[in-house]
Symmetry: C2
Subunit: 111 residues, 2 copies
């Protein structure tokens, strides 16, 4: 099944361990062993998470068979961010409405 | 299984039909029938998508049994956006690096 990029990015982000792995890689590249360290889950489980992240383009892995250090590729995150930004008017909008409301109250007090 | 909010939001967004439903609701509330109109999928399939969106808090549905109009609730999107913003340095950073690089080239040419 062909999955569009954006769906694949959001699906990859829908897991706390995968988001924690990305947070770790934001500080620099790391091997599977280094990535597994803070977690109580097995190396194969970490490897499966890395495969999901790699398929969605969120990480790139080195070719050295034993080490295969992973590094973050933020481009899919930028694409996801662009999609979400279309909706920013809705949360910013609600603050504007609060602002208008407070202004009207204030105006009522000074007149 | 307890799923954290952010994972539930990203999972809900990992489907093009659900994203299209949110885009439609961004223009105002709509009934299931209205939401199903632009799609070639069945009403029950649309209802299942609405349930996923509702569980993740991305939509709120009215109580009138027959109509149950849906409306967008952008708060989970704002939370997802906040998470992504932590990584904005990586896409903005790469532009900065390009900028530095171009500046160095230019400096080399004028000196």
């Amino acid at each position: 099944m062909a999955v569009d990029h954006l769906s694949s990015t959001f699906a990859a982000l829908a897991d706390p361990t995968r988001r924690a792995i990305l947070a770790r890689l934001a500080t620099g590249e790391a091997t599977v062993t280094e990535l597994a360290e803070p977690f109580t889950i097995s190396l194969p489980a970490i490897s499966r998470h890395l495969k999901v992240l790699e398929r969605s383009g969120l990480i790139v892995r080195g070719r050295a068979a034993q080490w295969r250090p992973s590094r973050l590729d933020a481009r899919p995150l930028e694409e996801a961010n662009e999609w979400l930004e279309h909706y920013s008017q809705f949360w910013e909008g609600s603050l504007d409405r609060l602002d208008d409301h407070l202004r009207r109250i204030q105006k009522g007090q000074t007149e």
